[in-house]
């Protein structure tokens, strides 16, 4: 196999200058490399580093929230600013941290996993990324404007977001338009790449689960991001151009906002978890040294979850006064989603059964995912029950649920993927000691942070409030401490990443992990800048 220039994830290393390929030696350097790159590895790196920055941005907003909630009373912020904090925390984490991280992993790994030289549309790929810093500059700059940042929640219900909002709404809408365009273009790129650029022999039912879950996620994205674009435009025109989509005076309906928003919103949360399912499905077989149990059923289960995600949206609206028949339909459909999800969880466990297991850091995070995501799923099942939801709705019970599925679910999935693949990207093994330290600090603090939220929620603490009744004080103090520790723990992760980017660590082999299977483990570590320029033949 010809040697090519090593890929970059930071500082320069010794190049392999191949005489035969002198014409291909040229690899861009400097700032223009990163601005104009069409290379899927570079773009993947950009997305991942951007999402890490956004994770800490959203995290700082969360720290401010938890600082205020550490004690009852209003100590640090006024209620309107608190609402800005919760709103922008949600927007940044959803659209800035989780989604771009998954796109970054997709960019890096999908071409490698299918034996393609790059993504199908490399220039559109560059644009998909570079839109994001602009989108988030627009959003975050509203903090410094008169009237402040958007404060209607990441769900921006009308008429709070239309009649009763500041002019940050206009910036918010444009920012969301940009994020949507980025996501849609990224999704289309993924679909075309997987459809058209699989190496010979890489048949559909040979695709790694990460590729399958991303393919299905990409279809969800192109289906629902345009609906978000529509509803956000309706908010803009209701506020500034005299339309009455959500204004009862003009014949509109505020509840219709919720229907349209959640028609996007529910598939969106599956968009935020399916790629994590794919990552876990890659990691568990490697460290159990056993093939994934029930490959076909995993594919079908993922597709079922995606399909069902379109018909459950009103479970976010059980208390809006819908007729009983509608409430029942959405309740049953929501409970139904637990079935394919359960299939996946059982299959991961079955993969481990009689496997030969070791517990490196990626595996630890993947195992934590399985247990803690399941806890999040169970609280979701509780929320699906209509009469029960009448108690839980808009309390901290909901906050506990979605943070379990998003933080210990999606984010832990991303983290485990980073630990798993970073030796391939950088050519060095991360420090196992630092990784284990990160893991244990995270696992303890994340549960300190989110588990008690179930209790205060059941005890009646509402969400999105800056001050609360005195009986919730002790739990909130405990939660805030957990939050501080969890935030600090992520600095350990940054330390690990920086060390790897600086090539500090044991040299990694191509195989990296003893039990790893797949095309990505057949190329050198670090992965050369250009890979699979001639397609491999998959048996």
């Amino acid at each position: 196999m010809s040697t090519e220039n090593s890929s970059e994830l930071g500082s320069e290393l010794d190049h392999h200058q191949s005489d035969d390929h002198h014409a291909h030696d040229h690899k861009p350097h400097g700032i223009t490399r990163w601005l104009f790159t069409t290379n899927h590895k570079d773009i993947g790196t950009l997305y991942l580093l951007f999402s890490l920055l956004m994770l800490f941005t959203g995290g700082i907003l969360a720290m401010m929230i938890r600082a205020e909630l550490f004690q009852p009373g209003l100590q640090f912020v006024d209620p309107h600013f608190f609402n800005q904090l919760t709103t922008v925390h949600g927007l940044v984490m959803v659209f800035g941290a989780v989604m771009p991280a998954f796109v970054g992993l997709a960019n890096w790994m999908i071409p490698l996993m299918i034996g393609a030289p790059d993504m199908a549309l490399p220039r559109m790929n560059n644009w998909s990324f570079w839109i994001l810093p602009f989108a988030f500059t627009i959003l975050l700059s509203t903090f410094f404007m008169e009237g402040g940042a958007p404060a209607a929640g990441w769900t921006f219900y009308a008429p709070l977001s239309t009649t009763y909002s500041s002019d940050s709404t206009a910036f918010f809408v444009f920012s969301v338009h940009l994020m949507g365009i980025s996501s849609i273009m990224g999704a289309m790129n993924v679909i075309v790449t997987i459809f058209n650029m699989r190496a010979p022999g890489m048949k559909w039912m040979k695709l790694p689960l990460f590729v399958w879950t991303w393919l299905i996620t990409a279809f969800l994205l192109i289906a629902v991001m345009p609906v978000l674009a529509g509803v956000v435009t309706m908010v803009l025109t209701d506020k500034y151009f005299g339309t009455s989509f959500f204004d009862a005076a003009g014949g509109g309906d505020p509840v219709m906002f919720q229907h349209i928003f959640w028609f996007f919103g529910h598939p969106e949360v599956y968009i935020m978890i399916l790629p994590a399912f794919g990552i876990v499905s890659s990691i568990i077989p490697t460290f159990a040294r056993k093939p994934l149990f029930g490959y076909e059923s995993m594919v079908i289960a993922t597709a079922s979850i995606a399909f069902l995600s379109f018909i459950v949206w009103a479970h976010h609206m059980f208390t809006t006064g819908m007729p009983v028949a509608a409430e029942l339909f959405f309740m049953y459909a929501t409970m139904l989603i637990a079935v394919p999800t359960g299939v996946k969880v059982f299959n991961w466990v079955a993969t481990m059964w009689r496997g030969s297991m070791t517990f490196e850091v990626p595996m630890m995070f993947a195992l934590a995912f399985i247990v803690l995501f399941t806890i999040g799923g169970l609280s979701g099942l509780m929320l699906a029950i209509v009469p029960a939801d009448f108690q839980y709705h808009d309390t901290y019970f909901v906050v506990a649920h979605f943070h379990y599925v998003l933080v210990t679910g999606a984010v832990f999935g991303i983290i485990s993927g980073v630990y798993y693949w970073i030796p391939k990207w950088t050519g060095v093994m991360y420090s196992e000691k630092i990784g284990q330290f990160h893991f244990w600090c995270s696992i303890v603090s994340v549960n300190m942070l989110f588990f008690p939220m179930h209790f205060v929620g059941l005890a009646g603490m509402p969400r999105r409030i800056p001050d609360y009744a005195l009986q919730f004080a002790d739990m909130n103090a405990f939660i805030s401490i957990g939050g501080l520790l969890f935030g600090l723990s992520q600095l350990i992760f940054v330390w690990m990443v920086v060390r790897c980017m600086r090539r500090k660590g044991k040299k990694a082999s191509s195989q990296v992990w003893e039990g790893a299977q797949g095309l990505e483990w057949e190329i050198p570590s670090p992965a050369p800048y250009h890979t699979f320029q001639t397609p491999p033949h998959v048996k």
Partner: protein
């Protein structure tokens, strides 16, 4: 394999179609509500037919009046509730008062709860069909003449009629 271009064209078409679908949800929402009868919206037009009175059951009808912050008027129902048989015609007055020094025009938008009962709430005459101009310091009683369709399903025993009063701008529509 189809070329990148062909596939991209199809995907872009899906995107545009879904964007259009998002907007189509607006009229679809009304259509769905009308078909299932669950929207709580009563008819825009006065009813012309009458129904036979069903003396075997009594329905309690409650009245709510609230005003939007855009219009500083007094607005209240003459009574909070009445009891009537399906088919029986009753008249209830809503009192509006303009305490300001300027003449203004208001418009009331009705809503019926539970939503599924809305299509059985038949209005013969309603101030919600038209604009309501009031002079400075004028006070008026505005009548609603209605009956409950005897076809109302048996499990409904209470219906609430609620009005919200808005200042009449080009945007406000009567329903």
């Amino acid at each position: 394999m189809v070329s990148h271009r062909t596939l991209m064209r199809k995907l872009i078409l899906i995107c545009i179609a879904m964007f259009a679908f998002g907007y189509a949800l607006v009229p679809l929402y009304d259509v769905f509500c009308e078909i299932t009868g669950i929207n709580g919206k009563t008819s825009n037009q006065p009813a012309t037919t009458r129904a036979k009175v069903d003396e075997s059951r009594a329905i309690k009808v409650e009245f709510l009046a609230n005003r939007d912050s855009s219009i500083p008027w007094g607005f209240s129902p003459e009574m909070t509730d009445i009891s009537l048989h399906p088919g029986q015609i009753k008249v209830v007055n809503f009192i509006v008062e303009n305490p300001t020094d300027e003449a203004m025009v208001g418009r009331a938008v009705p809503s019926v709860s539970p939503g599924e009962a809305a299509k059985y709430f038949i209005k013969i005459e309603c101030f919600c069909f038209t604009e309501q101009p009031l002079d400075a310091h004028e006070r008026r009683a505005m009548p609603v003449q209605f009956y409950i369709d005897p076809k109302l399903p048996a499990h409904f025993t209470t219906i609430t009629l609620s009005y919200r009063l808005y200042k009449n701008t080009p945007q406000v529509v009567g329903r």
